[in-house]
């Protein structure tokens, strides 16, 4: 389980808005919780359980981080706007990653999960439906809404950065 899913869970935690360090901590929590519940997790539901637990742990951690003012992106795209780099320029990788954090942060959790799985994990929608135990139609509608939000945030960044006028 650890070998098969650790990287996936870690990436998911990172994409649910945790820093690298916190993703480490959170991944540990997820697998500790899973190891203590092995007797109730059906083997075929292992990944679903891990992912669901990861969402919950990430959400808890974000909440406590916000309480401690550790999250840099409480205002999505806000503090990213005053950069002098034009949107047409190649964006520095790290900066881009921070911006993506901000954009993802703006999404509701359910939307974000589908968005991350589809756009970043490049998982087929049927697999997402199975993983989240939701109907394919729900995956499609969440993805649609997440993309709308994504476009809104991208437009917002572009506007604030003074490009694409």
């Amino acid at each position: 389980m650890l070998d098969e899913s650790f990287d996936f869970i870690w990436r998911s935690l990172r994409r649910f808005g945790l820093s690298d360090d916190r993703a480490d901590d959170a991944a540990q929590q997820v697998f500790i919780i899973a190891s203590r519940k092995l007797d109730v997790i059906r083997p075929e539901a292992e990944r679903s359980f891990l992912f669901g637990t990861a969402m919950r742990v990430a959400s808890d951690m974000r909440r406590s981080a916000v309480a401690r003012r550790e999250i840099a992106h409480a205002d999505p795209a806000g503090d990213l706007a005053d950069t002098s780099i034009s949107p047409d320029e190649l964006i520095d990788q790290r900066r881009a990653r921070e911006m993506l954090d901000g954009v993802l942060h703006a999404m509701e959790e359910d939307m974000r999960a589908v968005f991350v799985l589809f756009e970043l994990e490049e998982m087929p929608t049927a697999e997402i439906a199975a993983l989240l135990a939701i109907p394919p139609g729900t995956v499609a509608s969440r993805l649609r809404r997440a993309r709308e939000e994504f476009e809104v945030q991208i437009a917002r960044i572009k506007k604030r950065r003074g490009g694409d006028q």
């Binding site: 650890l2 994409r15 500790i32 919780i33 790290r94 756009e119 970043l120 991208i154």
Partner: protein, 280 residues
């Protein structure tokens, strides 16, 4: 339903941002630390710690000693899944532990070095743990095919090397380390998660003894101490079982129904549904 085109395949700002996440990956050592932490979970859930030296060393920094015997209602280590997990995790730790006696502990450098040295065995050992055994494991910690007892014997003395500041429940190494004889004051403080685990295990132990009322008292204390703990679902589940053990079926049923409504597809859903329907 046709698959929508992925945004990351475009060439605009959005695609650039999405592409930036391609490099997301855990750092070296991250997985090894988690493996060590899971080993700790195994020590908590199972019945015995084989090495007295390990238990003694653990007393300073870890929750293991109080958890001995807590296995009753705890993790059932029989499933194939569990064995699979241990193949990945515990063997890692056995190797790491063997390495650790030669490695200075606790510094980031040592941690990183260890992670590097641990990495290869993790992958190599996954299909079957036994090939690792002849390497350099202390005789006190025999590696056998993962039976329910084996993980604990292996895991406990070998947890320390992969400890990170966030994994403080992990025990100090027991043997061959001059520092292991130092008093517990030099041990890192127990992490919040370790405290939560320990608290929950006390309730679990009470329940395993059939002491539903005692378990409920401990769970009340637990809920006050860890209202937002990551194991709170497990605490609620234990409460349901404790209510049943005390014979308070109505309260158990009510709580089960509430929990089920909150998370109808969670890992405990089947059990909760059974209780909610009035079965034992």
């Amino acid at each position: 339903m046709t698959e929508p085109k992925r945004l990351s395949h475009g060439d605009d700002l959005g695609a650039s941002l999405l592409a930036s996440a391609r490099g997301d990956q855990p750092r070296a050592g991250s997985r090894a630390r988690t493996a060590a932490a899971i080993g700790l979970g195994a020590a908590l859930g199972t019945a015995a710690i084989a090495s007295a030296g390990a238990a003694k060393a653990a007393a300073g920094a870890s929750i293991a000693p109080k958890a001995i015997g807590a296995g009753g209602a705890g993790v059932k280590v029989a499933s194939a899944l569990w064995l699979k997990l241990l193949a990945a995790g515990v063997v890692t730790m056995a190797v790491a532990g063997a390495v650790a006696v030669k490695v200075e502990r606790s510094s980031h450098h040592a941690d990183a070095t260890l992670a590097e040295r641990t990495r290869a065995p993790v992958n190599a050992a996954t299909p079957t743990p036994t090939p690792v055994a002849p390497m350099n494991v202390p005789p006190e910690s025999p590696i056998t095919p993962p039976t329910p007892e084996a993980p604990t014997a292996i895991a406990t003395p070998t947890l320390a090397p992969t400890a990170s500041p966030t994994a403080s429940p992990i025990a100090e190494p027991a043997k061959s380390s001059p520092r292991a004889t130092q008093p517990a004051a030099s041990s890192p403080p127990e992490s919040p998660l370790a405290q939560e685990l320990r608290s929950l295990d006390e309730a679990r132990s009470a329940l395993a003894r059939g002491d539903g009322s005692g378990a409920l008292t401990l769970l009340d204390r637990h809920d006050r101490a860890f209202p937002m703990g990551p194991l709170r679902t497990e605490a609620k589940m234990l409460r349901v079982e404790a209510l049943l053990a005390r014979g308070d079926r109505a309260a158990a049923k009510k709580l089960a129904t509430e929990l089920l409504a909150r998370d109808p597809s969670g890992p405990h859903a089947r059990r909760l549904r059974t209780i909610g329907d009035g079965a034992p």
